[in-house]
């Protein structure tokens, strides 16, 4: 169930930000995709922050602003959330679980063009009752709107019922496997 969409209006102000030069303070030619996986006994949440660099921002926005009208509508934000969801696989003990887009937060395109804009997409899945003992959850991120660098981490669980044992990633952090223990 989608709980909310945060979208932003932009227009003439784009010109101001378009004049910003490339600064050394922020990302330039790549998009940072930072994924955080939160495990609870009945729900897994994957929060993905996408921060495109200045030089990739226009290409990145072209994947979102489909009608090229200079605004990101709710429909377009939803569509982008679905695009990301389709590119991410989550498996629990080898079995694929369906993900739902729970929330999309879209900053103004001007901010994205500045290299500081952070698109946040929250994906969730309900988890079947987990038996006590060891489990594995694997996340594959195949979303690459532009050249990307990745971070993938499990959050420290809020509950003592779940203990993270080990995290394994591929070198680029597009794949994350988390071994965890369920206590009942």
């Amino acid at each position: 169930m989608r709980s909310a969409r945060h979208i932003y209006i932009f227009g003439p102000l784009a010109l101001i930000f378009a004049l910003l030069p490339s600064a050394s303070a922020h990302r330039l030619d790549e998009c940072l995709q930072a994924a955080r996986l939160d495990l609870t006994p009945d729900r897994f949440t994957l929060e993905l922050d996408l921060t495109p660099g200045i030089q990739t921002a226009d290409a990145f926005l072209s994947r979102i602003d489909l009608d090229r009208n200079g605004q990101v509508s709710g429909v377009e934000a939803d569509a982008y959330g679905d695009l990301v969801r389709a590119a991410i696989q989550l498996r629990l003990d080898g079995r694929r679980l369906g993900l739902t887009v729970d929330d999309v937060t879209m900053p103004p395109p001007e901010e994205i063009r500045s290299g500081a804009g952070n698109v946040r997409i929250r994906l969730t899945t309900k988890v079947p009752a987990l038996r006590a003992g060891p489990h594995r959850v694997a996340v594959r991120n195949r979303h690459q709107p532009v050249a990307s660098v990745y971070l993938a981490n499990a959050l420290l669980p809020d509950t003592p019922q779940i203990e993270i044992i080990r995290q394994q990633r591929d070198r680029l952090q597009r794949n994350l496997e988390v071994q965890f223990l369920v206590r009942r």
């Binding site: 102000l13 101001i16 303070a25 103004p108 500081a116 952090q173």
Partner: protein, 360 residues
Amino acid sequence: MIHSRSTIRFHPRLVAGLASLLASAIVLGPISAPAQVSPSSAESRPAGPGPLAAAAARAADAFIATLDDRQRARVQFAFDDEAQRKNWSNLPTGIYQRKGLRLGELTPAQRAAALALLAATLSKSGYEKVWGIMEGDQVLPKPAGNIIFGRDEYYLSFLGKPSATEPWSIQFGGHHLALNLTLAGRRGTLAPSHTAAQPARFELQGKTIRPLGRENDLAFELINNLGAAERQHAILGAKFRDLVLGPGHDGRMIAPEGVSASTFNAHQKQLLLDLIREWVGIVGDDAAAPKMAEVQAGLNETRFAWSGPTTQGSAAYFRIQGPAVFIEYAPQTLGGDPTQHIHTIYRDPTNEYGKRDRKP
């Protein structure tokens, strides 16, 4: 309908960016002399023992006394102003707008009082680190346009009234620096704070300045001091190109990874403590010493993780995570040489913004 539940709003940064653009057109002034912030100034900071909060409150009151009414209104925020508490970033003005008083708009006497407050609050090494970060920001080539940074572009603000006994906070930050110091009587914390450097190594008046040099050197010393088994546990297979819990990630904590310090010998443990002290010890000893004692008490539950080459001089990410401390050090590829552009974060999972200390 999905869109009946959509929220359309102007992003705060957009509004702030506009304010910055207007402000920069009005208040840009000449850059003041670097001599106002120097290691030698740190040596002349108020000496003698005494609770940090009392010294800080005296220095803050002295600074406030130099301000006019309009400036006082801008520097002072309510202690429970959570929006201002979290209003910090690694980014420069033009992309991110801070509140408070900007060093560049202060008179020489006001600026000296502001820096005296830092000197009264920070340790000597902490003050030198801050000075080095600001000087590095000054020598970093400036782009044309609205992105502004340099030693004038740091902001000072207070949450709550300066006090020797009651909780209050000092915020000082700009590009590549965010100090959030919360004091509550004899207790104090600098968490969360962000230090960074670009360039991370530069020449100034014939001296090589490395604001985060000790952090780098101690970390390489530690990783190279570990045995093969410990090092294997410490080194993560993946590349970490950025901070995981940098600015904007308050309230989150990731699962710990890396080698447990419980496997370290006494020398390795001391190296780790010395490394952690580079962040904890930015603040004066009255606050740093009890925090280091807390860190030491949890040392056997502390993990050290590494990503990248282990040869001194190369670019490597590392992370320290214990019951009451979280530190990341992440070289950035932006700007070419990643050893010349470092971001770090210091957090305290038990006491962010002095949350624990503020309880009666």
